[in-house]
């Protein structure tokens, strides 16, 4: 069996991890395992590694649609396929078609509902004059995700979003920090 990274050396390091109920496997040669930090217990997650390797299928898919290169920084689909990293913030727009599916497999949702610049979220409740996302926007975003979750019959997700909306509607501005 050849190493999944360099595809040249014999793979001698084999890793298995269950991520979200799915078995992910990884076969590396010794040199690549060291290079990827697999020999270090403190900074190793198979999931991180999989971003560049096991998830290559999804990344390949993500890279195969949309524009071939980012107009801002010149980063190409091939670069993304190789590294699993993007070139600049605008790449998210340039490769948005393919990225959407990839983000769905990786994350809970595809709409950001957390902190936004200028909102001073979680600290003060004076959010009105700043240009960031207002609680109303966030509520709307959540509402949209909720409808979508119900549409695809993902009730577990729907219940979670419902709770989040409830938390947001609490008079203190939704700060649920303990």
């Amino acid at each position: 069996m050849l190493c999944m990274v360099c595809k040249q050396q014999e793979a001698t390091v084999h890793l298995t991890q269950v991520v979200e109920g799915k078995i992910k496997k990884l076969d590396l040669c010794e040199a690549c395992s060291k290079a990827k930090g697999v020999d270090d217990p403190t900074g190793f997650s198979l999931a991180d590694l999989l971003m560049g390797l096991g998830a290559s299928q999804e990344i390949a898919q993500a890279a195969s649609s949309g524009e071939s290169s980012c107009p801002t920084c010149g980063f190409t689909q091939a670069d993304f396929k190789k590294s699993g990293r993007l070139g600049c913030p605008d790449c998210y727009r340039a490769f948005s078609d393919g990225l959407e599916a990839l983000l769905k497999t990786m994350h809970k949702g595809h709409q950001h509902v957390g902190k936004a610049p200028g909102s001073l979220a979680g600290q003060t409740q004076t959010q009105s004059r700043t240009p960031g996302r207002s609680p109303e926007d966030r509520l709307q975003a959540l509402q949209r995700s909720l409808e979508e979750a119900i549409k695809v019959e993902n009730y577990e997700e729907a219940a979670r979003i419902r709770d989040e909306i409830k938390a947001l509607k609490v008079p203190n501005g939704g700060a649920v920090t303990a």
């Binding site: 890793l15 298995t16 991890q17 269950v18 991520v19 979200e20 109920g21 930090g37 697999v38 020999d39 270090d40 217990p41 403190t42 900074g43 190793f44 997650s45 198979l46 999931a47 991180d48 971003m51 920084c73 980063f75 670069d79 590294s83 699993g84 990293r85 993007l86 070139g87 600049c88 913030p89 998210y92 990225l99 990839l102 983000l103 990786m106 994350h107 809970k108 949702g109 595809h110 709409q111 950001h112 509902v113 957390g114 902190k115 936004a116 610049p117 200028g118 001073l120 979220a121 979680g122 600290q123 996302r133 926007d137 995700s145 989040e164 938390a167 700060a175 649920v176 920090t177 303990a178």
Partner: protein, 369 residues
């Protein structure tokens, strides 16, 4: 100031305490941020990286929480310095490998660390002893909010904070707790716990992946997903999971002591025996045995000895920390010898484990007739 003069001595670093620190070694929240209109560090050309690094470093150093901070360019640090930062869990291995155009700002109390031009322009983290995930989030949230007044972040209303790797997009947040779980490992329940945690979409890190022993029985648990949930929801979930794991670990320790006291005392006694008498010991073996010594301390088998001694030795016996004590370059074999010397010396005043009287003779059966 040189890094080694800036950092707290290991003896002092080992003394910090926090809630639940018997099992939770530390809590950490890391945020990834990037500058708007600027390529990510991995794709940026060297002059662009240097420019971004300068701008960020100036902004970070101006923050009130960074007064008296250690700020340095990565190319100005020696290989040994960088390795020491990794061993103290202050920078990532990836960041330690960086040179020109990357930097580091570390607060005076070492609880806040900003890595500049790692994978993202900014990787800022708050590190607290014990279980303090909410506190760590609030601290880093404040720093982030102050910083956003000085820098313009790459942000999209749909995708949140834009990061070099799509796995971090959204909140850009990674919340993690470092747990010492020897009870679950000895009771062979760690597999189930790891699997259950994975099912919740959380990652368990450790050299041997899921289901096997991690070095020194230390496991790091963190969130994987960053898009579609608020920061507080993520922090809350991880806190709940960690609280449950603490309960499981305590139960496992209780059950082991009740059902298999000899197994527990055997492990601890042997660990003490080797650490107090060995003349050569590898870093890995030392970590694993120190973990057993730590549980012995938790169980009260070493009266008069503070747990911080084990934590101090854990820091001190790591390769770079050990090397830093000597001016000449040590080979791995020499390090193993010096490490063992240091252990014997440190344990000279620690008495053999005391087995509690009620468990010393658990077989209180009447003699056979």
């Amino acid at each position: 100031m040189h890094l080694l003069e800036f950092l707290r001595p290991p003896q002092e670093a080992a003394k910090q305490s926090g809630p639940q620190d018997k099992i939770v070694l530390s809590s950490r929240v890391r945020l990834a941020r990037n500058l708007s209109g600027s390529p990510f560090p991995g794709w940026a050309k060297k002059p662009e990286r240097i420019r971004a690094c300068e701008a960020i470093r100036t902004a970070v150093q101006e923050l009130p929480e960074m007064q008296g901070a250690f700020a340095e360019s990565m190319d100005a640090l020696s290989g040994l310095d960088k390795q020491i930062l990794v061993e103290r869990h202050l920078v990532s291995r990836e960041h330690a490998a960086k040179g020109t155009g990357s930097g580091l700002v570390l607060s005076k109390d070492e609880s806040l660390c900003v890595m500049i031009n790692e994978e993202d322009h900014l990787r800022m983290q708050s590190l607290k002893p014990g279980l303090q995930l909410h506190e760590a989030w609030q601290t880093i949230d404040t720093l982030d909010t102050r910083l956003e007044n000085r820098l313009t972040y790459a942000f999209s209303p749909e995708l949140g904070y834009l990061t070099a790797c799509p796995t971090n997009v959204g909140t850009g947040m990674r919340v993690s707790a470092m747990l010492h779980l020897p009870g679950l490992v000895l009771a062979e329940q760690i597999n189930q716990v790891v699997q259950a945690v994975n099912k919740l979409g959380l990652a368990v890190r450790g050299l041997y992946g899921e289901g096997t022993e991690a070095l020194g029985n230390i496991f790091q648990i963190s969130n994987q997903m960053t898009l579609g949930e608020t920061e507080t929801v993520i922090v809350e979930r991880l806190s709940k999971v960690v609280a449950q794991i603490i309960e499981h670990e305590e139960n496992a320790r209780g059950t082991l002591l009740e059902k298999k006291p000899k197994v527990v005392f055997n492990h601890i006694g042997r660990a003490y025996g080797i650490l107090a008498n060995a003349h050569s010991i590898s870093s890995k073996e030392a970590m694993n045995l120190l973990s057993l010594l730590r549980i012995g301390l938790d169980l009260g088998l070493f009266p008069g000895t503070a747990r911080s001694l084990v934590d101090e030795l854990t820091i001190l016996t790591q390769p770079a920390h050990l090397q830093a004590r000597y001016s000449e370059k040590l080979s791995a074999e020499e390090r193993d010898i010096r490490r063992a010397d240091m252990m014997r010396e440190a344990l000279r005043t620690v008495n053999r484990p005391v087995i509690p009287p009620d468990t010393a003779e658990p077989l209180d059966k009447p003699p056979p007739a």
